[in-house]
Symmetry: C2
Subunit: 129 residues, 2 copies
């Protein structure tokens, strides 16, 4: 679309270099939020800690919200992403299913493409006008 | 965590077709929101009605908020996007500057590219697993 000169980083163009394109991307299922950045972080933390409450705490997310996110992902996905495993000396733990691990990989690939898109776009330089 | 079976849907492929990628994109200036979809709509309505209050009303946006949005765009842009013209029988009106009209065009071009990006991406088909 527009002809863009390479951004100058140092001084004189500072004000114009201040423009930046930003955005968010998420997956919906039947019009409802299925996977977004926060939910993917939660899945990663569950994978790391093996515990929903520790995962939530590490993100400063309330346990109730974390539970709702997981429940929503599990419902919207064809197969659950997180499962509760009963037993063990601590009375059970939470873990990702293979489907949950795949969801992380898929979302991150998509997000990477989106980051590439954002990085390759430039808000048109006002100088051109 | 509850194990949930896939929702029953009439047609077998429908459930997988239900995944959809969505997102938002905006321009920041020095880390602050400069132009997003709502602000661009407001600019268009100002252009249509020649009045900030009518533009706001048509979007069901409070006048105070509309004013803040315009003020923020005018401050962050190098040159104002909206100007108030005094006088006339109705006591003045609001109109877009040439800069304001260009902002609409530029944002819309960017948004169109983003829509192309969203449309060309597919949330990976779960079948593949």
């Amino acid at each position: 679309m527009t002809k863009i000169r390479a951004r100058k980083i140092t001084h004189p163009q500072k004000a114009e270099a201040g423009f930046n394109i930003n955005g968010r991307i998420w997956i919906e299922k039947d019009g409802m939020l299925y996977l977004g950045w926060g939910r993917i972080m939660l899945l990663e933390k569950i994978n790391e800690f093996g515990s929903l409450s520790e995962a939530a705490r590490s993100m400063k997310l309330g346990y109730g919200n974390a539970w709702l996110w997981v429940d929503s992902m599990n419902r919207l996905s064809g197969k659950p992403l997180v499962e509760k495993v009963a037993g063990g000396r601590n009375g059970g733990y939470s873990r990702l299913t293979p489907e949950g691990k795949k969801a992380i990989v898929k979302y991150k690939k998509l997000r990477e493409k989106f980051m590439d898109f954002l990085n390759q776009e430039r808000y048109p330089n006002l100088r051109e006008d």
